[in-house]
Symmetry: C3
């Protein structure tokens, strides 16, 4: 028998692969004569099913929809799609999407013989993250032991399916115990314009079913951190700046709460968060120096912290942006204008012609200017955090921006705070209720990080760290260089200090 | 005959598929011996042709360019590409790009025998959207009935072709009546680093030819809406704030036109646009509740409005950004300083020491602070509208941001406006020319939307809506649960209210 | 012999293709019986090797790691991966990743027989850009003449490998002299979720090894340009505004250096940079008009300038953003408040009730408003420069934004500067040290560009240019229309003036 030339990327092939052995060659000829129209079945008539049918038809597939009430359902589907009974659909199709609620999977058992040897794609979602027991896909596989179950497409919305992947980078996560079935679904996926991502065996289906249920898991701790710091510093500032004048002198400045207190709190949060971005890198370096090897695993908390640095940084940036806007709003307020008028009045009455204090003026010009520069650098960092921008730069460029420019931003922001605080740390009048001025509390962490970074620059430390990161280990008596891969593209996340 | 192992993703194969039956086996052996160099022909010597040749050569193809004046053209092409007569190129190539103006397609008819059984790729564009008669590709297919015509690559610029798809997400839309030819072009496409998107039969070519001619079709109505609202509110504000004082009191405040009037107009437009983002969702929900089913199609205007919400939102954000900048500019202006000086002068003369009005100060501090928060939320919404960010979040996260945070932003912006307006609605002096203050007009729509949203939260309404969205229908006497797919990933665009 | 149906996208196949002829058929049967587990070998145990192993295992591959100290290394790898001696790994694997430092490649020569006929993937990086002599991959190919060497994966960090390509658009650049080997690695690449990009023959490996070493090569000249302009204008302004009053009148206004001088410098740089974005397009058009053909190559400097316009534009935008923030900060400063108080004092003493100068007020209101509009337009340009946004718009839309809106922004920014300068150009007092006011210097280039653009709009010029861009040439006596491709998607970079 002569094997005809087989086209890669031709859907007829994988679909046949997914079928049982019986009658394969006959069908081969059939589809070769009309290779454009492999038959894809869809069980279920919901929104997802309808969008899927549209997309499949648009991608050149022959679609047959299995409905319990075909006559009612036919109006809902594109006219190129055939709407039949579930049994007919299951029999005709080479590959079947199961788009019914998982709790109704059991109603399909009658189709078992018709679906034997075919590929079933389970597109269902769970109601809860990490539901107990087997995943929906595994339950389906138990119901249809003679079919090959592939999990996938559940991460797509019906909307995405209908309009198609406009920017060509929508991923579809697939897993299955049958590589053949998975491969055929991957083909179909690609032909529909999506990017299939192989997640391995069907045991990965629980993870895939979890994907659409997550709500910013990597943001939880950074946001919690930001909110806690905000509350702490807000209460601290309110106590010092509003409560203390009221209780001691009886001066009511509660009008400061909505803007001025917020505006002193935001930069505090931003600077501490920025220090928290660079602290875990220092911890990792110290740990490596201390243990004398890079082959020890970091403790879990450090690992997680290292992977959350981007989120910490973006929370910091959000606070910095709000701080910038609040600051710029200050002279716009009625209270600022009224205070100015009142000062003018007093000045007039006292007959002082000049209030100019050179030091005060200089200090403010400098700290505003330094603050703007810090903000500019942070903006650059934020822009390069955008996925599409981050994708266009290489590792060296990424490190330059996130590490070199990031430390510059931290330095500038610290300097901004120091210039703002100036000599007020030495003014006893600032220790209201014996509480030190906010900027003193805020400066601790950034100064620690900056000093730590300088310490890592000391030649003896830097050299040892470099050795460790190229695979050197203190514990081995003879220094034996493993012919390892160049670590310039090694797990640099850590060396990015 | 023994079928040699065929490599998927190997270009030699699909190209041969695209050829006629005659001599196929002989050529098969030839290319198998040198499988890396399938021959791609290009007819035409323009910029596109040159960039295409460079890209093909870089992707490992053997390229032959067909020129009417090969000797003159040879200098324009990379040296790896062969430049020959059109006939030679057509004969040698397995797959031919037709890169000549569509009006000159007819000059190629002499090549018909040489091109028989081969795949022709039409890369041309039309001059006008929806040109009359058949598309360029269909005309080419009529001219070469024995060739398989594939439409594609017209959406790429010569520039993109030359530098290649730097970020790996450039799509190439393909259509053809021959699945084999389409599949071979899709392979070539992928090997050049682009993502082929199957658009179906050649009848889709008109649509593909339209793609590069569109000028922001989805932005037309949102921008029109923004501009109309801006003009209306600008004239309204100019009448009340500039014209009325001039005509009644003779006070000339025309200097307010470039900044102050614009700055009162922008937030009005922004707030109305934001309400227009959430109004169609409410309409859809009401319609579903009224008709008692989700299976009725929405009227066309509502469908289109639902799909334009992102554009409405971004127009709103642009206005909000400009409003923020204009507001921050207010104290910078000469006029603001001069007014302050004049107030100080008057205060001095009248000897009033204190102008402080606690209510006024509080109101302003609050509305500025609330405004900044609304702006912060809108910025988050805008950032998550960026395609690359939207791609990294799942449906639940997207809904949380666009719906939950979006309503928060709407609430904040409404509160900002209410605090701005305060009790001026009850001051008869504000009804100049009997026109109510602007903020009253502006508040109508947002309040309607917010109240509507609250109504949908009422348990009886919310429950019924949930039932309807899971497939329940009032018209059916017996409630019959269709074993549909979970609608959590159904056409949620509508439930995103 | 019957050719079994071969699945495209099935990894077992390409891996076998990469092997020698001997024993191929036997192995074919072996893998067909368990097609999901082709064996991928990794030599080396560094970070990259470990991340690669994890990713391969996650993508369904059977992985065997070759280590010099298998017992020590086994703990570092996922348990699904086998850790063996280098020889065992080389023998078992169908495809081998060489993840050892390039300087240790020679230690692998003992494996030569075991690796004969197999595909070796060199993932190493160089230490320097354009290192002398052959590339690492070429050296490896010399060491293993009987293996097929593929260069690739060196542009990925271990981190990216470990977490996988979250957004599905990570490219992997591949090159090899063996198309079969390259194709099999491309398959593997795709199955791991990356997008393979074919870069041609192994001679391209030096270029691929350079990719991760570049540090913003396309930004060098634009940044240099920005910094030089900044320094020049800063010194110029400092001389005129700070030094001159000090030396001539003895008035010390050094406090202006951190903010006011910077804020006069930034818009100067921004406007000149914006003019430099549009100047090369004019040069190109003039050259085409002068030479009467579009087929002459542009001089190199012009070519490079044309491709750097985006970077010039973004540098301009950065300066514009900083200028906006600095300007908004002006009224917030202590010095501004003190000056206002001092003016109020003087006004009081002199008893002038009104300082209002209508012209001054109008001028400032206008130039602020125009400046904000210019800034809004520049922001739109910047947002559409984001890769993910640029990808969603077609060529016509891109041209509309970057060219039409861009010229609008240039016009607005020029108008902003003219309104700022106003009649001060005719005030001899402004020519301190005989230096003309800054805005006069700044306006030269933008005015030249705007006038040049208007000249290109003249019907006679516009028509000739259009002819030239559609292929017309003056040198040919008979105007002979080449049946070229429509140049609407030709090398438009130039027509984008």
């Amino acid at each position: 028998m002569i094997c005809q030339c087989i086209m890669p990327d031709e859907m007829s092939r994988p679909l046949i692969q997914g079928r049982g052995e019986g009658g394969s060659s006959r069908h081969l000829e059939a589809t070769m004569s009309d290779p454009a129209t492999p038959v894809v079945g869809i069980l279920g008539t919901g929104d997802f099913s309808r969008s899927l049918a549209s997309r499949l038809v648009a991608s050149g597939y022959q679609v047959v929809v299995g409905s319990r009430t075909p006559k009612r359902s036919v109006a809902l589907f594109p006219e190129e799609a055939e709407v039949a009974s579930q049994m007919e659909a299951a029999s005709q199709a080479d590959l079947v999407f199961v788009a019914v609620f998982p709790e109704h999977h059991s109603t399909l058992v009658d189709l078992r013989p018709a679906l034997a040897g075919k590929t079933l794609v389970d597109v269902s979602n769970s109601l809860h993250i990490n539901q107990k027991g087997p995943s929906n896909a595994e339950q389906l596989a138990n119901l249809f032991p003679e079919s090959s179950v592939v999990k996938g497409f559940n991460t797509l919305s019906a909307w995405t399916l209908q309009v198609g992947p406009r920017d060509g980078s929508r991923q579809v996560f697939l897993c299955s115990d049958s590589p053949t079935a998975k491969s055929s679904v991957a083909q179909l996926c690609r032909r529909m314009g999506f990017i299939p991502v192989d997640m391995g065996l069907l045991s990965a289906s629980l993870e895939i079913e979890n994907i659409p249920l997550y709500l910013f898991p990597s943001w939880r701790i950074p946001i919690l951190c930001t909110v806690s710091l905000f509350i702490f510093f807000y209460l601290y500032n309110a106590t010092r700046d509003v409560l203390q004048p009221y209780t001691t002198v009886g001066k009511s400045v509660f009008y400061k709460l909505p803007i001025e207190t917020v505006n002193v709190t935001l930069p505090s949060v931003a600077l501490v968060m920025l220090a928290l971005v660079y602290l875990p890198g220092l911890c990792a370096a110290s740990l490596q120096l201390w243990s004398g090897t890079k082959y020890n695993r970091f403790p879990n908390w450090l690992d997680r912290w290292l992977t959350r640095r981007k989120q910490f940084g973006l929370c910091c940036f959000l606070c910095a942006v709000l701080h910038a806007i609040y600051s710029l709003c200050l002279p716009m307020r009625k209270s600022a204008r009224l205070k100015l008028l009142s000062t003018a009045f007093k000045q007039m009455k006292e007959g002082k012609e000049e209030l100019w204090v050179d030091e005060e003026v200089w200090r403010m010009e400098l700290y505003v200017s330094v603050g703007i520069m810090a903000f500019g650098l942070l903006s650059l960092l934020a822009v390069t955090s955008l996925p599409s921008v981050a994708n266009t730069i290489n590792w060296r460029e990424f490190t330059f921006i996130q590490s070199t420019l990031g430390y510059c931003a931290l330095f500038m922001a610290t300097l901004h705070t120091v210039l703002f605080g100036w000599n007020r740390a030495f003014d006893p009048g600032q220790y209201r209720y014996y509480l030190p001025p906010t900027f003193l509390l805020v400066l601790i962490l950034p100064l620690v990080v900056l000093l730590g970074r300088i310490a890592l620059f000391l030649p003896c430390v830097a050299l040892r760290l470099k050795q460790i990161r190229r695979g050197w280990e203190r514990s081995r008596h003879i220094r034996f260089i493993l012919p390892d891969n160049d670590n310039r593209n090694g797990l640099e996340d850590v060396s990015n200090v």
